[in-house]
Symmetry: C2
Subunit: 202 residues, 2 copies
Amino acid sequence: MNTAILKRPRGRPTNFDHEEALEKALQVFWAHGYEGASMSELTEALGINKPSIYAAFGNKEELFRKALARYTTGPAAFVGEAMKEPSARLVVEKFLMRAVDFFSDKSTPSGCMIVQGALTCGQSSSAIQQELITYRNGIETMLTKRFELAKTQSDLPPNLNTKQLAKYIATIHQGMSVQATSGATREELIAIVEIALKNLPI
Amino acid sequence: MNTAILKRPRGRPTNFDHEEALEKALQVFWAHGYEGASMSELTEALGINKPSIYAAFGNKEELFRKALARYTTGPAAFVGEAMKEPSARLVVEKFLMRAVDFFSDKSTPSGCMIVQGALTCGQSSSAIQQELITYRNGIETMLTKRFELAKTQSDLPPNLNTKQLAKYIATIHQGMSVQATSGATREELIAIVEIALKNLPI
DNA sequence: CAATTTATTTACCATATGGTACAATAATAA
DNA sequence: TTATTATTGTACCATATGGTAAATAAATTG
C-alpha cells in the first residue's frame, strides 16, 4: 500500500509525518495569523523541534506558504468547486453558502486565512501581506471569469459589469470572514447570505 | 486664549503636545495594527522617547486604547453622524458612502482600524482583540437601534428583522475595509456600494 | 564490521520586544 | 537661593523573536 516505505532514503528516517505537521501548522497560522503565530507556538503544536521544522520547510515564511497552499487545496477548495455550478446565480449561492459552513465549522479556526492571515502587520511581514492580497484578488478573478463565461451562455446580460459584481460578492465574503471571527453564529451568517442573495442583481 | 499655560503645573513642563502625539500614534496603529506597530516605531513616529510615552499614556495597550478613542471621535465619527439621517434608507446610504470616502482617503491609512487593528493576533493581544470585537458590535447595535426607531416611525415594516439587516450592512462595511486595504480604488468601492444600495431590502 | 548519510537534540546566537531605573534638567514654590 | 516637583535622555532589563551550529542518533551502503 504505502510505497513510501518500500525504498527508504539513505540516512536517518524522518520521525514525523510532513503532511500531519503541515496540517497542524495550518491550524496555528489560520487561528493567529502569520505574525501572531510564533515559532515556539508552532514547534509546540507540531510536536517537533525547530531545527526539524527548518530542515523540512525552510523558514517561517516558507512554512506559512506551504500551509497556505494546503489551505487552498484542502479546506478552502470549495471556492473552486463553487465555480462549477451550472449558472452564475448558483455559483454565487454555492460560494456564499459553503463559505458559511466553512466559517461556522467549529473544528477549524473561524474566518478565512486568506483574509485574516496578515491584513495589517509590521514591515517585516509585508511580503506575506502582499501575497495574501494576490490570493484575494485571485478569488475575485475566478468569479469574474465565471461571470464572463455566463455571459457567453446568455446566463448573464451582456452589459453587466462582471468585475464589479465579482468584487461585490468578494466583499460580502470578506465581511463574513470578519463576522465569523467576531463571533457571528452559523444562523447569523445564513441570514446575511439570505439577504445578499434575495437582493442579488442577477 | 490658551488657558493651559495660564497656570503651569509644578515641575518641568512637558515638551510635546499630547494630542499631536496621540494623533501620530493613531496613524501608526491604524496602518500596522496593534501587534504590527512596535514601540520603537511608535517612539520614532511620535518623536519622543519611550519613558515620556509611558509617563503620558501608560503602556502600549493604553496608548492603543487612547488612540482608538481618538479614532472613533475623530476620523470615524461619521458613523454616529450617519445615524442622524432622516430615514433608514438614507442612514445606510450615508454610512456606506461616507465609509467609501473614509477608506479611500489617501491622507490616512486604508481600511478601518476597528476592523483590522487586531483581527488575528498572538495570545498576548487577546484583550485588545476582544475590545475591537466589542467596538464592531457597537456599530451594529447603533444600526439596529436606528432601524428600530425607523420602525416606530413607519419608515420600516414592523416585521423586518433589524438585527439581521444591521449585520448585513456591517458585513458590507467590514468587507469594504478589507477591500480598501487590498488596494481597491475609490471608484471600485463606490461600485460596490451602488450594487449594495440598488438591491437593499428597504 | 566501518563508512556514509540524514534527522534529531541541545544549546546557543543576534536582534527585537515591551518596559524601566536613574541621573540630569527645567520649571515652580518658599 | 534653595527645595520641590515633574519630565527628559541615556542606558539598561528580562524576555521573546526567528534562526542555527554542533554533536548525537539512526538508518543505508559497501
